[in-house]
Symmetry: C2
């Protein structure tokens, strides 16, 4: 089973076309501008000197690389000479400043050449991995191989230093990423050396003494769990540590397991996957609850107001699920990707494509934030010092159909719903839908006979028809069409008892969308609003890319008395609920997902 | 109106006799032992040298002083040659080591003599104030004046340095306390100089430039709000900053306002009082929600799990209310003192009198605590580095009847209920009650005719009879007796809408007692338990000094699914609720006050 490459699926309207257009029109440019202003592109000239402004940072190359990768995806979708010109020029800079032996990192070459390959915590191989991904994407988009050649040369050096000589001061990187990049490179060029190097980094992880010792040399180091170096990868059973690092690792583990039929490794991936989705994830698909170290928390600690839920972590979890989706026909992977895509990932970008959230809380209390020690925002920001999330949004939106179809011979699994035309080996599959406004999805097929499996989402409890591994099955021959109806209703969702932060509270879902209430629509003291479960809801198409819900609700009256006898007196209101991803797009406002229901 | 001194009210059984006996039998000794072990008493020898263990600390004299004050109160209640022997010996040490000019502070004399009166943040006058209170208490208890003489000499020095010469590097203390001590001293000896000095410190507070500048010289200084130095006292309208400091100040402000008929000052006290009770206090009477700086938070931010609620702050708030109680006949002051006394103050000491809470949360989640950055305990501790709370408990319990009666001529206000015999100027008033087990309170009177006003508690909504300013009125002549019935029921209480942490949640009260559920009785995941409001409750006398409540409750079932459709399936249980003050007296356990109710 292989996911169909995103470039084979052309978006032709609807929700995700809105976001693809937003990316091309706005997101890719807003990120470009900020990177330009902050000197991230200039850093590739490798001529920074002490006293100059915009001192390069250890992770800047990764920011630029993700932007290149995203821009390359946009070019793949539709030629764009402007973006191509920029990337060509950036590739020139890298080629010009790459060291004779292949090394390239704009920070270490200019600021700290004596520290090259000395500190595993310092993101060197993480930057290399993103540059490799960028080079592959641009090569596929344009056929131009300058950047790819640079990165192949750099990869050769890494192979020599780490795998042959063991001459670096550490064995595996402190921030995973290169593993999945090397596996992509292997997919792209078929060179066994790249597979071997990826396997080396995965096999050695948590499996050598040098790494832990090296980590401790860094001033701001964390423990081995933070870096997922606490045990060898095949012994992992839980998602731990920094959530972005973790999910990049798990993505690579799943990819390697499939390529090498490594059952032990796949089994570890399954345990980790289950651990995340059964006890460490917000209902929006957000992960990494701990602000302190941007990490997974303990089981069932899923706070709302205080959660971290980094945008990059949600995107990385979708990548992990995307890899797992190739291991077995099971709709749960598509369910998870859908949960992330419609909620906790795109919440990271404003509806005008100009501003970004790093952290995606499920409840905003501005008064509490004003007193918080955490770096939390009620509004999206134009950029961040650590700016990994914005370019991650660029590449995610530009390649959104990447997990839409999974193909195994003549079996075609449709995992996601979006108006599009997909080029299969066997023919062309067209999908028409107004999803997530409603659940009607029509398919038309031209080509050799196939079996189409359509994911019936977990939320779709009213679906009528046979379901197998979570999919409805249809045999399609040339010219056939089929329409699947996924009845959408307002659902009140509850969390497991052990999620104590949500006890007595419920989240509203409509189709794949999680909803929230904003103060700007519903007044102050949102935790005190009780939604009434009387089926009085009204679903409206307004000015958002997904439906708005109105429903009856109640609120208590305030009095002068701080504590008083329980009263049943309530004031009715008509609550307005908007999709979670759309919160914080107007004035500053409190927001809530988990509310009381009567 | 004057509160009747505690020594005029002899406890004769019941709830507070239990605590008074506990103090004498255990609390005073457990604190003594810990202070001895940690060198706090040795410090008074003023012979510590660099290299010695147990280096004195700036606030150690205040710890010792509060212990002396508490022990003196116990001696007042009942002669105790053992305690008297200890105090005599401590007084000797102080007398011996007091500087020629009257200065005494064991830390500054031994560790940092060059810093005397240099830093307002360093608790010098705070220690002096507590020593003055101790000296007064011991003088009243025994007639011995050695300690008092020392403190009078020290007070003379303070008068000279601060009021006459202005030769200290600051004008008013960073930690209030000496103001209320000086007013007590004025009450005790009638020397106008002490009144003048108290007034000086209050008038100058927030009213000079020297203090703010001096504060900034300390490494760990806070802003002027923290020290209540942001505005002159008569312009204060809100309770702000460090909550213990604040309430010691407000206590002194109220005392001075009464003595000098200062309406502006009294008006400030009323505003501050209203601010606390209407938006900054837990239902247990706990105050000071912010861990970070042990301070009041913003209005209506009253968290449960994360609240600080220092034991000393609750005691200090009762002191403030006790002063306010003398300003007007209004039952709300007695209501507040009752709330504090039965809940958020005695929660600070274990039922065996050996262990102490500094912070008194209204919800314990051990898993969250294990990951918290705050210094929070699930169990009471034998002592603290900063050990102000344990000796505050010693003195509070030893003098618990101090706010029981307020007298104005032949009008006698009964504010608190406890089996006791009170010596009034007009005669003897005996009170018999099993409070808080039930609300029957009987009075017998011998003496000249009086009007007895009995506080009808705010929780007692079923009281039948006329009430004036919150009091029922009875005319008593020699030999008269009267019985007041205060019907006690289980009440579900709610907090104002703006207390967002309690939205959808209710607290159980029975009489003056706030109840809690412990995991040890009710199982895990306490936030998920829903109490059933079906009057199925049962009130039992068990092994605690106050009743235990049993009532019907429901809990959800856990499933493998993290998020699922709202379900109404519930498992019944019989919940056991214990008085809040008694929590954490068995094994480590989660605990909750605010629960859902159906």
């Amino acid at each position: 089973m292989k996911n169909l490459d995103f470039e084979k699926v052309k978006l032709e309207g609807g929700f995700w076309k809105f976001y693809l257009d937003l990316d091309r029109k706005s997101v890719v440019h807003s990120v470009y501008r900020r990177f330009l202003e902050t000197g991230r592109f200039d850093a590739l000239n490798c001529n920074w000197q002490e006293g100059d402004e915009n001192k390069p940072h250890i992770f800047w190359d990764s920011d630029v690389a993700k932007w290149i990768e995203g821009a390359a995806y946009l070019i793949t979708n539709e030629p764009d000479s402007y973006l191509e010109g920029i990337i060509d020029e950036l590739a020139e800079r890298i080629a010009k400043n790459q060291r004779e032996d292949g090394y390239f990192n704009s920070y270490f070459l200019t600021v700290a050449p004596e520290q090259i390959f000395k500190y595993r915590t310092e993101h060197e191989l993480y930057c290399a991995g993103h540059l490799i991904e960028a080079a592959i994407a641009y090569h596929k988009a344009t056929g131009k191989d300058k950047l790819l050649s640079c990165m192949l040369k750099y990869t050769d050096l890494i192979y020599k230093v780490f795998l042959i000589e063991d001459s670096a001061d550490f064995v595996t990187p402190g921030h995973e990423e290169i593993e999945l990049a090397l596996l992509k490179l292997y997919d792209h060029l078929g060179d066994e050396k790249h597979l071997a190097l990826a396997r080396f980094f995965l096999d050695k992880r948590g499996n050598n003494n040098k790494d832990s010792e090296n980590t401790k040399k860094s001033p701001a180091h964390f423990d081995d769990h933070y870096y997922q170096s606490h045990v060898p990868v095949r012994e992992m059973t839980e998602a731990v540590g920094h959530s972005v690092r973790a999910c990049y690792l798990y993505t690579a583990m799943a990819a390697l397991a499939k390529k090498t039929n490594d059952e032990n490794l796949l089994s570890a991936c399954r345990k980790i996957y289950d651990d995340i989705v059964s006890c460490k994830m917000s209902i929006t698909g957000g992960i990494g609850a701990e602000h302190e170290d941007e990490s997974f928390s303990y089981k069932y600690n899923i706070p709302n107001r205080d959660t971290y839920n980094e945008t990059c972590a949600a995107i990385a979890l979708a990548m992990f699920a995307g890899e797992m989706q190739e291991t077995e026909p099971d709709s749960r992977y598509g369910d998870l990707i859908e949960r992330i895509y419609y909620n906790g990932s795109i919440s990271g970008v404003s509806l005008d494509g100009e501003e970004y959230f790093y952290s995606n809380p499920l409840e905003v209390d501005r008064k509490k934030y004003a007193h918080s020690t955490y770096q939390t925002w009620c509004r999206r920001q134009k950029s961040f010092f650590c700016s990994c999330c914005p370019p991650n949004i660029v590449r995610m939106l530009a390649s959104i159909p990447r997990y839409t179809y999974t193909v195994e011979g003549n079996n075609v699994y449709c995992n996601q719903f979006m108006s599009s035309s997909a080029k299969l080996k066997t023919g062309t599959l067209t999908q028409r839908t107004d999803y997530p406004h409603d659940g009607k999805v029509s398919f038309e097929y031209r080509g050799e006979p196939i079996t189409l499996f359509v994911r019936i989402p977990h939320w779709c409890i009213e679906y009528e028809g046979a379901v197998e591994n979570g999919f409805a099955r249809f045999e399609l021959s040339d010219g056939d069409s089929v329409t699947v109806i996924l009845p959408m209703k307002v659902h009140f969702m509850e969390a497991d008892v052990r999620v104590q932060d949500n006890s007595g509270r419920y989240a509203v879902q409509y189709g794949p969308l999680v909803y929230c209430l904003e103060e700007i629509d519903n007044g102050e003291n949102l935790r005190d609003i009780t939604l009434v479960d009387n089926e009085s809801w009204e679903i409206r198409k307004e000015d958002l890319p997904a439906p708005v819900i109105y429903m009856d609700a109640l609120r208590r009256k305030s009095t002068e008395c701080l504590y008083r006898l329980k009263s049943d007196e309530r004031v009715p209101l008509r609550a307005r609920l908007i999709p979670y991803f759309a919160f914080a797009n107007r004035d500053e406002s409190d927001m809530i997902v988990w509310v009381t229901v009567k």
